[in-house]
């Protein structure tokens, strides 16, 4: 339908050439700097990928600065470190679950905040702002305080989850909701309201309007929110470290392992997760630009 009207922002730079042709060398400063920054930001990733192929002979096997030669050993057996398969599995169980719940909660909240005026909106906005700005260590220690106090509470105490899967999941949902909400809110705020009004004028009831008009329009932001929540969960170390008890997610495992030497297998898993993330992001970008062109 009228998707083109929604993408004005993407095209607006096409409006005018911003600067007169500049022949001086200074015109290379900014782009050169930007590309240098990109290389700088990616440098640990290059090292990670490169050293996933390092043929280290050391026992117990760990990453060394020296590159001993090329091998696919670690790629053939990425889970060859005791404890790692469980950690990766736990991460991959929690991330989609947490992202799913956080996206549902966050998308509804984002819709409300972006669209309506209501009492409590200001405090709600402040709350999600806090959730984003709060130092992780404060959030982690608060959540741990909650989970260790919970069992002592009368009646509710018997529902207290032991530290582990449940507490990690609850915490991950907690810090992801705000991120999803702001992603969706930003999108809702830029929506062209006339489309929904038009639908309602055509005698569609609000529910139909929502599912046929509003939802498709904000779907990309919901998807982006989901991906964001997924990555946040997969990546989190500080908060998880507080609430995980004896269980270990992938980042917790890596942190523990590094203290006696980083096994190259970690680089393999890291590279795989990285590749998956890049694919998802590129796909998202491609879909959006495809929709924009339509």
């Amino acid at each position: 339908m009228g998707a083109t009207t929604l993408t004005t922002r993407a095209d607006e730079t096409g409006l005018a050439p911003l600067h007169r042709p500049n022949k001086r060398w200074t015109r290379f400063i900014l782009p050169g700097f930007t590309w240098l920054m990109i290389v700088y930001l990616a440098s640990p990733i290059f090292v990670m990928i490169l050293y996933s192929f390092n043929d280290v002979p050391v026992v117990p096997v760990k990453q060394t600065p020296k590159f001993w030669g090329f091998t696919l050993r670690w790629w053939r057996d990425p889970f060859g470190v005791p404890g790692m398969p469980e950690a990766v599995r736990l991460s991959l169980e929690i991330a989609p679950l947490s992202a799913l719940v956080a996206t549902t909660l966050g998308a509804l909240l984002g819709l409300a905040l972006g669209r309506y005026r209501f009492r409590g909106k200001g405090p709600m906005n402040f709350l999600i702002f806090i959730a984003i700005a709060v130092p992780e260590i404060v959030l982690g220690s608060s959540l741990l305080s909650l989970f260790i106090t919970w069992p002592d509470v009368p009646v509710l105490g018997s529902f207290a989850p032991g530290l582990g899967f449940t507490t990690i999941l609850l915490s991950h949902i907690g810090f992801s909701v705000a991120f999803v909400a702001v992603t969706v809110r930003a999108r809702v705020q830029t929506l062209d309201r006339s489309l929904e009004d038009a639908a309602q004028d055509l005698f569609a009831d609000p529910v139909t309007t929502f599912f046929k008009v509003t939802l498709p329009l904000i779907a990309p932001s919901i998807l982006a929110g989901f991906l964001l929540a997924f990555v946040l969960s997969l990546d989190d170390f500080v908060i998880t470290n507080f609430v995980s008890g004896a269980s270990a997610t992938f980042p917790i495992f890596v942190y523990g392992a590094t203290r006696i030497g980083l096994p190259p297998h970690v680089n393999v898993i890291g590279t795989m997760l990285f590749a998956a993330g890049v694919l998802a992001a590129v796909a998202n970008l491609a879909i959006q630009s495809w929709r924009a062109r339509r």
Binding site: M124, S145, D235, L285
Partner: protein, 304 residues
């Protein structure tokens, strides 16, 4: 933006009257699930943190709630160095992040043209890899005989004793690296929203490029700078992983103390008190920001 809702609905045909009443409750239904969740898993934990911070005792005899304010005085006195250091380090980090991110996001927003999203993605892609792995790889690259300095030393370009790892510089560099996206995104959103024709207009009025930037772009990007400041400075104050992985003696931050006291010494009250101090400082900063610029401001959050 959402201001129109009420009026428009009331002006609609009578058939919508029922919806209108109904609609007034809609935002509450939409907000309720997430609101409740955040209440239980964000606000309540912070309240309990305060409660924990006022307990006394320990693991041998058990913990008791006793309005133990001395946890605060003891904690602040014992660890004032680390509090101060955290503020100094994250201050330096924030400035470094702004200096690095501003020119980059400026170029993307103003000259990126149709590649904007792709370049932005290139900047964000490294952050798909776990924060822990990235930091550990930096440790590896910055090692005394690591990937960067090893070769330079063997070429004789650096003295043998030269080192970066386990110095404050390594910690600043690590945090700067890890928090750069939190600076770059709000900046990018702010810069990207600036109407480019304003710059053109300034130039038409014979403003030099520099003047155009200083008089037009910079003021308009200020909300983004503030947002970037807040989203970098506040979380960075509580960071402890960089100091633990890349630092040495004399680089520990208050986050290290909180983590150590909470999880290792298992002195919950003292650790909670230190954490509350950090939390209150954060709330004050955030409230000032909200007062001045409003929490709905898009630059803060739109692209996070």
């Amino acid at each position: 933006m959402a201001t129109g809702t009420e009026e428009r609905v009331s002006a609609a045909p009578a058939r919508r009257g029922a919806y209108a009443r109904h609609r007034r409750t809609v935002p509450y239904w939409l907000t309720a699930p997430a609101g409740l969740y955040l209440l239980v898993f964000l606000v309540l934990p912070m309240v309990i943190l305060v409660y924990t911070s006022l307990q006394s005792g320990g693991l041998f005899g058990g913990l008791r709630f006793s309005w133990a304010w001395e946890n605060y005085t003891d904690g602040i006195l014992q660890y004032k160095t680390q509090f101060l250091r955290s503020i100094v380090i994250s201050g330096i980090v924030t400035v470094a992040c702004l200096l690095l991110a501003y020119p980059m996001t400026y170029w993307i927003a103003f000259y990126g043209q149709r590649w904007k999203s792709s370049i932005l993605l290139l900047i964000l892609v490294p952050f798909f890899v776990s924060f822990v792995i990235r930091t550990v790889q930096w440790r590896f690259m910055l090692g005394d005989n690591g990937l960067i300095f090893g070769p330079l030393k063997s070429l004789g370009l650096l003295p043998q004793g030269f080192r970066v790892l386990a110095t404050p510089f390594a910690v600043v560099a690590g945090i700067t690296y890890n928090y750069l996206p939190f600076t770059a995104l709000p900046l990018y959103v702010a810069l990207e929203r600036i109407d480019k024709s304003l710059v053109e207009a300034a130039k038409d009025l014979y403003a030099s490029k520099w003047q155009a930037f200083r008089r037009v772009v910079w003021p308009l990007s200020l909300p983004g700078v503030f947002a970037a400041f807040l989203l970098t400075f506040v979380p960075a104050t509580g960071d402890y992983v960089n100091a633990a992985v890349l630092g040495g003696p004399g680089t520990r931050m208050i986050g290290n103390i909180i983590q150590e006291t909470f999880l290792h010494s298992v002195n919950y009250p003292l650790a909670a008190a230190l954490s509350v101090v950090l939390m209150v400082a954060m709330l004050i900063l955030a409230s000032i920001y909200a007062r001045v610029l409003g929490t709905e401001d898009e630059t803060l959050t739109a692209a996070i």
